[in-house]
Symmetry: C2
Subunit: 216 residues, 2 copies
């Protein structure tokens, strides 16, 4: 938790620190990110950072939380869309969600970086602390969408909602990052594709996830 000093800060200064932190932690992760660099890049004394936060991990957690909330705010409208008001299939709505997510990541390299850093954090303590709230947020947002799909008859009534949710939460951020971060894709070339085709690839994966592969 940030100290009161942080919340009392002029928003412009807060934003400068936040941006510098997202950039540095996004590039080098939690343990690799340097507070010296962040302070220098934000134009702030290192000592100030310790007036705002208890220590490095407190700082990182706050930065990660802010970023994920900003992203979630953009996704929310697409999570709330129901079938009858949009006239779209479930697959189309999920495809739209992914496409918006990817577009957001294209336009916001800082948020993309810190998302990658939290998604790939190795230390179990840091990872759990940072990802559990994010998971809760996305389960909360995605469950109504999926449950709605079942209730509206677009998804089979015997769908294992929790299992589908688990896979979506694994797959969606991965799809959003893979076009911009090398070495995340394997059999489908999500990376190094043009803006035009990357959405098509992502929708292809969403399609494949939702359609049956095994013969009945």
């Amino acid at each position: 938790m940030p100290r009161p000093t942080w919340t009392n800060l002029p928003p412009a200064r807060r934003e400068r620190v936040l941006q510098a932190a997202m950039a540095e932690f996004g590039r080098h992760g939690y343990s690799g990110g340097s507070l010296n660099v962040i302070a220098r890049e934000a134009g702030v004394a290192k000592g100030s950072l310790f007036q705002y936060f208890d220590d490095k991990s407190d700082f990182f957690a706050h930065v990660a939380e802010q970023a994920s909330m900003r992203i979630y705010a953009v996704m929310q409208p697409y999570l709330d869309k129901s079938a009858d008001e949009s006239g779209q299939t479930f697959t189309e709505r999920l495809g739209d969600l992914v496409e918006v997510w990817i577009d957001y990541m294209a336009d916001h390299p800082l948020e993309r970086g810190i998302t990658a850093a939290t998604t790939m954090e190795l230390d179990p303590q840091v990872r759990t602390a940072v990802r559990e709230p994010v998971h809760r947020l996305y389960v909360q947002g995605l469950r109504p969408l999926v449950q709605g799909g079942v209730d509206e008859g677009q998804l089979r009534s015997d769908t294992d909602v929790d299992a589908l949710l688990a896979m979506l939460i694994l797959l969606l951020p991965h799809l959003a990052l893979a076009p911009f971060e090398a070495g995340l894709d394997s059999a489908v070339p999500l990376h190094a594709t043009s803006a035009r085709t990357r959405a098509a690839h992502a929708r292809r994966l969403v399609d494949t996830l939702l359609t049956g592969k095994v013969t009945e």
Copy 2:
């Protein structure tokens, strides 16, 4: 690439260095892993490490490659099983593969750690260098399994094989790690489940991946 000195080494010494490196890199990742610690833990002078490898990244790449080859060697028999000789459905065979993978990770914490470290490596250069060969290896192993499933009529003929492969390569290592590494699961409690139930959870996810969710 390791230097000749490394390959000339007595296997016992090589193994000690390898184990220490897997443990350290597995706990702290590439950038966080300390060569001092590895040398001390292996009972070897730090200078020796630089007789064996050009630098840290060369060392890490070799350790990661060795570990992934050991794991692959254990998985291979389950990748090669075809339907007619085993009498199993595709879902059952994939479930077996996952279960063996999980069991292997349970018994081999060192290999598990280094797998986690390479899967979650943040630096794009290191990640690409380390994961691309692993991806190739697993595409090579999984494609015949999937293609065989299609040819035998167990998978629908219109299955997008590459898309399914991409999702398997994302999902399978995740399933193998999640029971032992905190903060990787979301809607399905893979972590903190007993040895009895974790396989059931994993099979549940495999089932859900292969069955159709969307109504036809």
